[in-house]
């Protein structure tokens, strides 16, 4: 028997596979396809205080090795989500979920984090300071160390549950931002969010996204994610949830060897709704083949 369990600042997952924010809704659609309790956990769609429609259509563009999205944090607002979506989760998922929390000001981040903190469904809070699709807020918090430090510090003080900061890959050097988060009290880090990209329709010469640029995710970003997870692993002591282009059990191991204590699977869910299930079923088989008895022992073992 391979031991797949992993520990995110006290939140014990039976296996390291978490469905990524924005690609799993609130889990309900998937629960009608398979028993999603097999997941380590899942991360809910980013929430803001006020409901948001998000960016204009179209907001999806295909790429050869992934996709662009410019959703722009479509959500019904933190309160509604806590009172409806979070509350309903227990009907189909019996583990704590990760709440992805956004904001346009420090005050809003704090308000939303508190709402998540108080929801019994939530086991861990992921602070999204890296959404490339909203102009004010979001990304601007995630690219300057001092701004980031203040935000993380303030949120950490306001909540009880473990706080993970989700970092952007669209930076010259991710390490200082990781360190600033750690020093500000973050219990862990999530990376990477999407790379900023664009696609243009050569027939119409129009950007495919109404918003022009969007977040690039999927297989094509995997090598960048592995590098950044490893860089950050070597810079901080807190656990890392690694993500970016993971679509197989082998990818999960590679990301963990690079330094991730757990992983998130995003775009793969959209292409194959059974992606997480297949990965989780393959993991013990692959571990056995490689002689791995306790999966958590490989974390950061790259040399």
């Amino acid at each position: 028997m391979v031991n797949l369990s992993t520990n995110l600042s006290g939140l014990i997952l039976t296996n390291p596979v978490i469905a990524a924010s924005g690609t799993f809704g609130f889990g309900k659609e998937f629960s009608s396809l398979f028993d999603i309790n097999i997941l380590g956990s899942f991360c809910t769609k980013g929430m803001t205080y006020s409901p948001r429609l998000g960016n204009p259509q179209p907001r999806i563009a295909e790429c050869k090795a992934g996709m662009l999205n410019s959703i722009g944090l479509t959500n019904n607002g933190a309160k509604h989500i806590a009172e409806h979506e979070f509350l309903a989760i227990k009907n189909y998922f019996n583990k704590p979920v990760i709440a992805n929390v956004c904001g346009f000001s420090a005050e809003e981040y704090i308000k939303n984090a508190i709402i998540a903190d108080e929801s019994p469904a939530v086991g861990l809070i992921e602070l999204n300071v890296s959404c490339p699709n909203v102009k004010q807020g979001g990304i601007s918090f995630g690219t300057q160390t001092t701004v980031l430090f203040k935000l993380v510090n303030a949120v950490k003080k306001a909540i009880k549950k473990p706080l993970y900061v989700k970092l952007s890959p669209n930076v010259t050097d991710i390490k200082p931002l990781a360190k600033a988060s750690e020093e500000a009290g973050a219990d862990g880090l999530s990376l990477i969010n999407t790379l900023l990209g664009a696609r243009i329709d050569i027939n119409t010469r129009k950007f495919i996204l109404a918003n022009k640029y969007g977040g690039y995710s999927g297989k094509g970003i995997f090598p960048v994610a592995v590098r950044m997870v490893n860089e950050v692993y070597n810079s901080v002591k807190i656990p890392i949830i690694g993500m970016g282009g993971i679509s197989t059990a082998a990818d999960v191991l590679e990301m963990m060897i690079a330094g991730a204590t757990a992983v998130q699977v995003g775009t793969a869910n959209l292409i194959d709704p059974f992606a997480c299930k297949k990965i989780i079923e393959k993991l013990p088989i692959l571990c056995k083949k490689l002689g791995i008895k306790t999966l958590s022992e490989i974390v950061g073992s790259a040399r």
């Binding site: 659609e29 259509q57 179209p58 907001r59 999806i60 295909e62 999205n69 959703i71 292409i271 709704p273």
Partner: protein, 241 residues
């Protein structure tokens, strides 16, 4: 929704760039106005295509080769197996038709296929209706014979007047009718404005097709709704135009 493997039974060329493909297998429970989402080897995202016809173990789709994905699909050999999500979307709802109202099915271009499925369904329920199909020119007419074969009175309009009435589908008076419409956005909008009420089938760029990514979400009178899961069919009351 169901994830299934379907086998290409046949692919027929209807016009220069429109193909009809029959897929066989365990198709699941289906409804007119729903769509399927097809994984085509070599492409990242699935391709959403409306159901044009179905029975217990087959689905017929009619699609235009817009880009590389649909082109590749049209070139796949018979016998090729495809990974497909079926039974996506809400579909048309004939129970919402108000009593004593005339019904009109209005389709434009590649909006016609799902209306064929609906026509068959309504016919099966002995509901009477008119059909108005609009195309750019006679060369682009699709499925007319199929509507005729159902014994349905079908009016055709062409933008260039090369067949039927010259002009757009709105040239036909639908003021007092409950419409079921599918076609390009400008057509839907025009029909929406002159119709009494009805159901309108939308399109959007989709990533998942089953309601989890918010890629297709639009503003409606009932809040943010997902074209893939809450639509693609929206009632006149839901639409904000």
């Amino acid at each position: 929704m169901k994830k299934t493997l379907l086998t290409i039974k046949s692919t027929l060329k209807l016009t220069d760039d429109v193909f009809k493909t029959i897929l066989e297998g365990d198709v699941g429970t289906l409804k007119a106005g729903q769509f399927i989402d097809i994984k085509i080897e070599g492409f990242t995202l699935r391709r959403p295509i409306s159901i044009c016809d179905f029975d217990k173990n087959s689905i017929t789709i009619v699609y235009k080769t817009i880009g590389e994905g649909t082109l590749a699909l049209s070139n796949l050999p018979n016998g090729q197996r495809l990974d497909v999500l079926t039974g996506l979307g809400n579909g048309f709802d004939s129970t919402k038709i108000p009593a004593n109202t005339k019904i009109s099915l209005v389709g434009g271009g590649l909006g016609v296929p799902p209306l064929y499925c609906l026509a068959k369904h309504l016919k099966g329920q002995n509901i009477n209706f008119d059909v108005i199909l609009g195309f750019n020119s006679d060369k682009e007419i699709i499925l007319l014979n199929d509507f005729n074969a159902l014994g349905i009175n079908t009016v055709v309009t062409t933008a260039d007047g090369s067949y039927g009435m010259k002009g757009f589908v709105t040239a036909v008076d639908n003021k007092d009718k409950y419409v079921f419409a599918c076609g390009p956005m400008p057509m839907l909008k025009a029909v929406y404005k002159v119709s009494n009420g009805g159901q309108f089938s939308f399109e959007a760029r989709m990533a998942c097709g089953f309601g989890v990514c918010q890629g297709c979400t639009i503003q409606t009178t009932q809040g943010f709704l997902r074209v893939c899961a809450d639509g693609p069919v929206f009632t006149k009351e839901q639409i904000i135009w």
